[in-house]
Amino acid sequence: MHKELSYNLHNILNFKIVTSSRLKILNDLNFMFSYFESEKNNSDVILNIGKFTPSDEHSTLVDHKYHIKDNYFYCKDKEGKAKWEVEIFGFEDGPTHINFHSVIYGIEQLLIPDYLAQNIILRPLLELKLFEKGYVTLHGLGIEKNGKACVFAARGGAHKTRIAMDLLRKGGYSLLGDDRLICSQDYLFSYPLFYNLVKFKAEHMNDEHISSLPNKIKMIAHLNSKAFNAKNSSLFTNKARFEKIFLMARKENFVELSYSDVDLDSLAKAIVNSNKMEFISSGISQSLGFVPFYRYMLAYSYVFPDSKIATYWDNLEIKIKEVLRGKIACGITLPDAYSPALFIDLFNLVNGA
């Protein structure tokens, strides 16, 4: 039996996942875009998970591995305990059709069989598609109050989750995205992945040590209870006016919050680098944390150096500068340890004090 899941990203982009996996237990981890599930629609992107036969004749071969022709990509690949095969029609120009088949030599094969396809192919590809439609994906935390939004652009390990939870619980803010956001010239749109995981953290966890075993068990129990439904929650705001952006990093042996000026040019470059990293490694699972998509783009660029794929990063930088021009921007350095005092400083900062 095939299962078909349709998604609608803020009426900007529609996509569909077709899979034959039957497992139900960890649906919320297996399908990361659950927040955007919708009625059937005309999909810009279709991801087909399962065995397939590639149509890779007349391709240019890069490294004996990547089979590339105009608007087409195919390869067999492996990393760590995963092996997969992927074919993309409409790689740089839509509509896009992805065939993906993977085997993971581990418990993930049973629990989250469709995760890899989404994390290493669909997620980065959606970023390219969003860009084509004039939207930029940011990696960071987005919060909203009174229709105005502010972004903390950061790499991992910069207290993003704790800041988010505190602003949510004590600051009267609502979340736009805990890790990713979509932005246009004037607006920020929510882009929560693993929605129920975030919701669980927000509603049930006082400390953020989600990785401890009792908490993991608690979490899985919650994710499987029927009452825990994505549709009836006000945790996330979908859209808000884009006002401020903070470029944030943590520093060791640092005592208090400090600010620095950041020019538009450096800000845009930093964000592009952060987005590149998300195409190299990212994910909820350590052992499946790799993302080969950056390499796939390089391989395609080596064959088509003037393609949209090859010029993506340069064009992204230009677009980000365009989007951020006139926004309030500042660099912030956070101390190693998160504290109530730090939260007060941050709260004052986002409130414009």
């Binding site: 890779d56 004749e57 007349h58 391709s59 240019t60 071969l61 890069v62 490294d63 004996h64 089979h67 790499r155 991992g156 390990g157 910069a158 990093a249 943590r250 520093k251 060791e252 042996n253 640092f254 040019d265 450096s266 470059k269 930093a270 680098n273 952060s274 590149k276 990293m277 190299i280 490694s281 390499r295 390089l298 391989a299 660029s301 080596y302 064959v303 150096p305 003037d306 090859a310 350095t333 190693d336």
Partner: protein, 358 residues
Amino acid sequence: MKEIYVNIHDLIKFKVTDGSSWLSQAITGDLLEEYCNYLSSDSINESDLDFIISITSRLEKKQDCHVLDDEYYLNNGYFFTKDSYKIAKWKIELLRLHNQYFITLHPNLIARLFITGFFIDFLIQFSLTRKGYSIIHSSGLTKNNSSYLFSGRSGSGKTSLSLGLMSCDSSYKFLGDDFQILVNGKSFPYITPLNLFSYNISDYLLARLNRDEKIKMRFKSAIYKLTGGYAKFFTKLNPATSFHNMIGSCSDISKLFIIHPTNDCLSNGIKINKIQKQAAVKYITYNQMMDSRYFPKYLIQYGFMFPNDELSRYWELHMQNLNNNLTNNVEFYLINLPSRLIRSKLALNKIKGIIENA
């Protein structure tokens, strides 16, 4: 403590010190065989070195760093991280002091085998680029002070092509198999040992191997097949000693070929098209970007904190230099070569035709 100095045509100079235990040195063999043709017999003044690599068995990161993704530690002109590839694991630290780079590596036994490919080769490229030179992934030949470069990914047949041309016309001299250094319209030879494997050995080379070397090679191929491609060991052959009278010298770049293999089975179509310099520069740059995986990743992560630093602007500089060092008299060709014709006489003759058609 083992210490070597490398000097490549007086363009760059570096030092490698290996402080690992004698046991790991003995097991993994000579890691620096790659640079055997450019070893400097005298020590070089520290301040003249572009970079210094220390391989140690103890490496602690510096204090007070910015921490990204809980695993990258950065400061202006500094980074530290831990990384791995299959069962190879390493810690790496890079430090810039007075315009010199100091790299410290703490590899496990397996990672020692990748030190040249993953780190030193990239540092050579990086240092050349900083000084305005270019280095490209290609094999090269020279004849009458004109050089012909074949740029491609590994397995695109660039080695076979060079060796094939040399075996049918001995006036072609060898400029190197993997990399050429370009300086203002000239290409310098860069002779590194050839990585021989059962699939890329040509008759030209086979004739130059002795019996022991042939047996070793078969043994290594067997291991490759038995482990399903996991363990890949090459046999090294140094052209500078095996065919020393065939090595060319610095000459003017005349023609540069970009080779793209295809899986076209239907036609005999070897397509050769003249392309613009601008396009060639891009092909070469993307080739280079695919070459190394780890250092470029560190540079991207570093570029989040220090986007305008020379480390973060490396690829931009790389393209700029190529534009300058490939002067306007150079001709560029893109070859679409069906993979089954990679080592064919047909391909060889077609390319020979273009080279000789001045």
